[in-house]
Amino acid sequence: MAGIQYTLNRLVLMIPTFLLVMIIIFLLVRLLPGDPAIAIAGDKASDADIAAIREKLGLNAPLLAQFWYFLTNTLQGDLGRSILLRAPVLDVILARLPTTIFLAVYAISLSILIAGPLAFLAAVNRGRWQDNLIRAVFQVGLSMPVFYIGLILLTFLAAQLRLFPVGGYGETFWDRMYHLFLPAVTVALYTSAILMRNLRAAIIEVLDAEYVQFARAKGLPSRLILGRHVLKNALISTVTLLGLSIGQLMSGTLVTETVFAVPGVGRLMLEAIFARDYPLIQGLTLTFAVLVSLVFLMTDLFQSWLDPRMRLS
């Protein structure tokens, strides 16, 4: 019961947030410099063409009316037509979204695979050389811009050693895993660094906790202690952290897709910005916002399911 109540509360809270999100997106695009009509018509068009396009797009209507159209159209799933791609924005985004989601999930899985065991190793050996080495490496990783990591991997593993393809995204599932390996590693290096840090701290916290010390003193096998307390704690902390860093993950995919020529929504966003394709910028920004809030919601619900005390907040 309480769980359903909590979920409902959570959903109701999202409504005003979303209204604000829509206002932000709307204002962003209305403030774009350069007449969108000129962007649509192209350099070679006549002034009359441009006036006609302005009229057609409703750019002459009052701002409030324009917002109302934007809001109602969006709620009906109509995000307008892309200038750049001459197709409905929704279709364009839906065609590119699976690639980005694939990359994101791939990257998350890799970061867990990288960070999990290393965090554990570091926590258990805390203060010793293993710990210091692992943390030093990740510290450096955190200080590297994503595009730089991508560039290095691309140059050495793909171009020089020819271990991986230079770009593209493959057809079948395994082909896709192979093509997107380097991009996923690029994104994962950054998230795994954050994850490793927090996971290590979480494990240490449990190991130091009085009840664990007590259980140890009582002679309970350490495997049991680790299994019961550490894993649960680590799981909560991993989920929370991954949920919170979804924004960073998305930012990372945006840059990575550009470096590796992966045709996902991140690269599309940059193309849209350079082409002043304002319906597409609008649609993409909204898509990112929806993705992030969905992940936030899922994280929240998952957390409250794992640890009911958290619902109090």
């Binding site: 969108p36 791609l85 393809p165 770009g167 045709p263 193309e271 082409a275």
Partner: protein, 532 residues
């Protein structure tokens, strides 16, 4: 004017065959070409194609009635076997080639031609209708096409060899879902559309912004060297890789066979690679900078560039060879005609057009009484490395003549808006001809009513009169003379900073033969063969 009748046919396939010299002994058939593009096509419909990545692909899917010869100086038949212009220049008659077919095997008929041309000249549809405004009607009697004109148009034949008049299937359009022509077109060219082509290929795959595939049209009328129909290859797969470095990596890693738009800074390195043929195809692309010639700037302050002598001075003070060295690593040449590329028909070679002469430049600014340290703004494209280099170089070059050049970086749309409103001093710009005729580019750069002479505000009555006269002049000698006069007037007035022409840099794997990019930019795959 005398009626010009030309029978074409056999002569034409030999002309095209010239591209594949060297593979004459045994052309291999089959295989798929992998092509890395800098930008994707959106809609390869002849009449809606308005960006180069669309325009340049139209010819691979849809043939026109006529086509330019290999050197671009003349026209020969393509889907039409022959053409004839009446003595008064107001009627063009064409005869369709026998047995030409769309990729599904259905015949290309006179009805398809009427449909395609009516579509192309409908001003409510595509942006190019204005180029066909001289046409009053098009009719067909089976394979005999008659085009009636309101007034003689010397550019009309060239227009029939231009992408927007390419022939599409009337049946396919009528069968496509949608109420308007736009909707039908979108449905036909969408992913999974029927992809009916009249050219060497048809569209067989399309993933918006990511990839595109062409498959050979088995019914294409042109013959290869082996006596069988072109094209030699089974198809082309396009991948879109906007990043220059990644595109080159793809080629050197062997993942694609051709990479286009190679940054000029890498031409030498790829040229040295024995497994790659580095091509620099001659183009009609010119890079220039419009100069605001109005008496006052948009903010009301006096405009030092309104004085012709100052404009001439900055042209003399610009060392084009050095600029070409810096921006293009030498892979280009200074503009030799002021209003068009040297590859455009009727271009007059006036080189050196404002050859580097600092003393002359200094004398001109002194004569004009230009204050030393006068501030002039160069508007450049943000994020463009070329523009950044151009700015840095011009700033150094113009300092000695007392001009303090400052940069203003904007995006493309803002630059376009500034060009329209005249709120600029000088800005970088470029152009590639879309039509195999000088009228388009000359109108764009110099004819005031078109677009205020590329936004410079330069309004010269003599030039305008000559341009108007030339657009109905059917006597080719007289027309050439009008163009010569226009180029002389324009060069003297210098409403532009005349910069350079650049070739199309395309790196092609050694196993590919016969690829061509025309001076207009069209990608030609019909003669491509792969060594396998």
């Amino acid at each position: 004017m005398k009626a010009a009748a030309l029978a074409v046919g056999l002569a034409m396939s030999t002309a095209l065959g010239a591209f594949t010299i060297g593979t004459a002994d045994a052309v291999e058939r089959g295989g798929t070409l992998n092509f890395a593009r800098y930008d994707g096509s959106k809609l390869v419909d002849p009449i809606y194609a308005d960006r180069n990545p669309d325009i340049w692909m139209v010819g691979s899917l849809f043939s026109t009635l006529l086509e330019p010869t290999a050197d671009g100086t003349d026209l020969v038949g393509s889907l039409a076997e022959s053409y004839e212009v009446s003595a008064d220049g107001k009627t063009v008659s064409l005869v369709l080639r026998d047995g030409v077919k769309f990729s599904d095997g259905s015949p290309v008929t006179g009805e398809d031609v009427v449909f395609s041309l009516d579509r192309a000249r409908n001003p409510d549809l595509g942006p190019w209708a204005g180029l066909l405004s001289a046409i009053s009607s098009v009719s067909a009697d089976s394979g005999n096409i008659t085009i009636s004109l309101e007034n003689p148009d010397p550019a009309l034949l060239s227009m029939l060899a231009t992408f927007n008049t390419a022939i599409v299937s009337k049946k396919a359009f009528e069968a496509a879902p949608g109420a308007t022509d736009q909707e039908k077109s979108a449905a036909l060219f969408a992913k999974g559309g029927p992809g009916l082509g009249s050219g060497p290929f048809y569209l067989s795959g399309f993933e918006q912004g990511a990839s595109m595939a062409f498959t050979a049209n088995p019914h294409y009328w042109k013959q290869g060297e082996d006596g069988k129909p072109l094209p030699y290859i089974d198809g082309v797969n396009f991948q879109i890789i906007p990043d220059d470095a990644t595109r080159v990596l793809k080629l050197t890693a062997g993942e694609v066979d051709i990479a286009e738009f190679i940054p000029f800074s890498r031409v030498a390195e790829l040229d040295a690679d024995p497994s790659i043929n580095m091509n620099l195809f001659p183009s009609t692309r010119i890079i220039y900078s419009p100069i605001n010639t109005r008496e006052k700037r948009a903010d009301g302050s006096p405009n030092p560039l309104a004085d012709k002598r100052v404009r001439q001075a900055i042209n003399y003070a610009t060392n084009k060879e050095a600029l070409i060295g810096l921006v293009l690593q030498g892979a280009g040449k200074p503009m030799s005609s002021p209003v068009m590329s040297s590859a455009t028909r009727l271009a007059v070679d006036m080189s050196p057009l404002y050859g580097y002469d600092l003393e002359k430049a200094k004398a001109l600014v002194a004569e004009a009484g230009l204050e030393p340290g006068t501030e002039v703004t160069l508007t450049t494209l943000a994020g463009s490395a070329d523009d950044a280099t151009i700015f840095a170089a011009l700033q150094q070059m113009w300092q000695p003549i007392g001009i303090n050049l400052v940069a203003e970086q904007v995006d493309g749309a803002t630059r376009g808006a500034k060009n329209r409103s005249g709120e600029f001093d000088i800005h970088t710009y470029g152009w590639v001809d879309d039509v195999n005729d000088p009228s388009q580019v000359t109108g764009w750069l110099g004819y005031y009513p078109t677009r205020k002479a590329v936004g410079t505000g330069w309004n010269n009555a003599d030039f305008n009169t000559l341009y108007e006269a030339s657009s109905t002049e059917m006597d080719s000698e007289k027309r050439a003379d009008q163009y010569k006069q226009m180029q002389e007037i324009y060069a003297e007035a210098a409403p532009l900073l005349f910069m350079y022409e650049t070739p199309f840099a395309v790196a092609v794997s050694g196993k590919v033969d016969g690829y061509l990019q025309t001076p207009l930019g069209n990608n030609v795959f019909e003669n491509v063969s792969l060594d396998r």
